[in-house]
Amino acid sequence: MGEYGKREEPRVGVFICQCGTNIGGVVNCEDVVEYARTLSNVAHSEYNMYTCSEVGLSAIKEAIKKHNLNRVVVASCTPRTHETLFRRTCKEAGLNEYLFEFANIREQCSWVHMNEPEKATGKAKDIVRMAVARASELEPRSEVEVDVDRSCLVIGGGIAGLTAASSVARQGFKVTLVEKESKLGGKLKQLHLVYPTFQQASEILQDAVKSVSENENIQLLTSSTVEEVSGFVGSFEVTVRRQDRPNELKVRVGTIIVATGATNYEPPRPSYGYGVSDRVVTQLKLEEILRENRLGRPESVVMVQCVGARKGETWTPGFEELKKSGLVDEAESERSVEEGFPYCSKICCVNAIKNALIIKDRSPNTDVIILYSDIRAYKEYERLYSDARKKGVKFIRYIMELPVEVKTSDGGKLDISFFNTLDRRKMSLLADYAVLSTPLAPSVDNLLLSKTLRIPIGADGFLLEAHPKLGPVDTSTQGIFLAGTAAGPLDLAESITSAKAATARASSLMTPGRLAKEAVTTEVNPTKCDACGLCEAICPFVAPRIVTIDGRKVSQINPILCNGCGTCVAACPRFAITLYHYKDDQIVSQVRTAFSDEVGDRAEPRILMFTCTYCSYAGADLAGVSRLQYPTNVRILRLPCSGRVDPYLVFEAFKAGADGVIISGCHPGDCHFLSGNRMAEQRYKSLQAALDSLGVEKDRVQLEWISASEGQLFAKVVKDMTDKIRALGPNPMRVVKE
């Protein structure tokens, strides 16, 4: 896995880019080049007009050959633009890509200190010095590759599962489709007409089943469940239990798509009159009644929205005032928080409107009244709402925080009473049917599924996607994707879309048939590890496992699953884990050289900032792109994640002469590595206690959340911290030269 070659004597080449006047107009590049020559390990130093041009790249390649360079530092723009380009250039010259280091002297120097050319030049020198120190510690790395089996397991044979299975199979991959019921179709079997086209659900189902049964690439296993899943992306080992067979079936797949769907919530009897009369039904039951044409021509039908949904908070504006006004019985309103889910199920509004239109179509004289709190008819479904209004469907706004009572009444009618918000009074409707619009709820299988597949469940009980924007159908486990309502309420069209998205994601792994991982991965030193299990517990990607080797328990990290955040590295109490390319000595080399030289007063007070690549570092770049000006006092270190910041690095910073330290990461909930920033926050809290014992003021260390879009916030943080540290004075651990 790792390369423990003997470290040769570093011969660093430093290439300063003028970038036209972008850098050259502020920073004196000649000065920096001269300065670089004086640094230890630097074998060559030059500057170019545009290092990223053909000319610039050739110059690098020539210099590598001519001066026998084994490390390259380019000081120019942000690595987020050209790191790949320069790495490739090194590779072409015969140098391992991971022996290249980028120094950002544009977005984080010349562009943000345009009025202070002297200080900017000084800062550029510091940045180059830090980069050279780090480059000297870098080691060659190679990427790890695994094979990805060109086969996929689809769990669930509803519309999402069927769509995913046939889409994947059509591309030539083998599919195993496992469905727990004896018939395919999931919820679609129970629907009648679907919106907005009012097609028969059975037609759509027929087509979907056909495309699966006719495809030879699909192995269909009904009345079956997934018992066990082991292995990892590219080579999952799946055990399927079949109801009618004694033996289990074992199958090996490269990817997994989870399309296990959701259930329809039913309120506990007798709330909302459920169970009191057979004319109080859920919308799903109404589908069945309409499909079998059993509704007849009732005088009136009342639909109640949000039954068992949006519970737990007060949504209705003015509800508090209403309680105070005495129009509402205080005791009643306390009773109202019954069972249910806190979220909105999205589809019930349009579904109710659709069913209302069907009823009006078949029986125009039936009065259909929908009791709503808010009508969510999005996309083109607004048209369905207008149609419903035009056809005489009535909408009455009720307060959902107060109970809706459904009782049987004289003459066989149902007495449906509720609080009418517009009339500001309680009223009853005497109707023939009460239809309760209930939410899609998480399937009861989710808990077991999440354990079997090692994928997390969200707070609402549905399966959790990796990131709502960066990974909407991914899970935190590589190779396992989500499709359909298993992840949350979706309508038919959206379920199909998500199934196709999952197909695309799975195909992106299966088509090349190989998965290459960037070489920034971790490794455990088995002699130091005492199998405490902390790394296994905190890694959101399930990369570390405690295994037994030669009778001894140690942690072993799967480099394919490891995302390279380094949170485990900072957590390990034995310092047993190494994150290659962000090793302790590589980071410390930067910390120690940040203020090691004659920085003079260009960096008084001295502030070191640990940033995460995806958010804070990008935020700093944005400040540069926006040409926001801020003080020259901060020296920035780039780490994969704020979770990599081990508290001892902060002590190193103070020992090295920093007056203040900023740890910055993604906003809570947005961490690119899911939970690294949470660990950073926890460590920051314990760090504060430790600082006291060192005699260092707590305020000298700050934790900040800066996102990639917050350039202004970044500049503000730098300004505020500079002012604050200036007021505190030099760090007591520092030896101040007179």
Binding site: N365, D367, I369, K413, L422, R425, M427, S428, A431
Partner: protein, 177 residues
Amino acid sequence: MEPDLDIPEKIRPDPSFMEEVLKEPDGEKLRYCFNCGTCTASCVVSRHTEKYRPRMILHLVSLGAKEAILRSKEIWLCAACNTCGERCPQGVNIADGMNVLRRLAIKHGYVPASIRALVSRILVHGRIYEVDEFVEEERQDLGLPPLPSVDKKFIEKLSEKIHSKSPSIVGSDGESK
């Protein structure tokens, strides 16, 4: 005295009343009402009565509380200033709507005594009030031209029509149904 609008607590939804209203001229637009209450908020009369609420009236119409609406005195209180119609976000002219309800009330035999009294006086005097000698003299003194005399034939024709089409609107005894 006609009863105040009795807002029923239990309503048995009946779409036929709404359909009846929609069929009347000026009634079609009432379908668009979504109960925002802008009409009531703007209404001049609402400010001075406790029960006259145009929004509530339209709401009850849509739910089918026919008896309650047609029997009430409230539908006769509209001043026809049209502030509601001007401001309605859905373009509904509520003032016209009140007119529709009045027509339907009469059709179903609910006529306020005051209306009856007005109509019977028109049928007798040709005017809402009798123009007697005092009035004629005053007019002369002020230099105003004399009023045209009442066309008896026209009054007869009008009386015939009213008796055949809406007999309940006539009656000087002040009795309401």
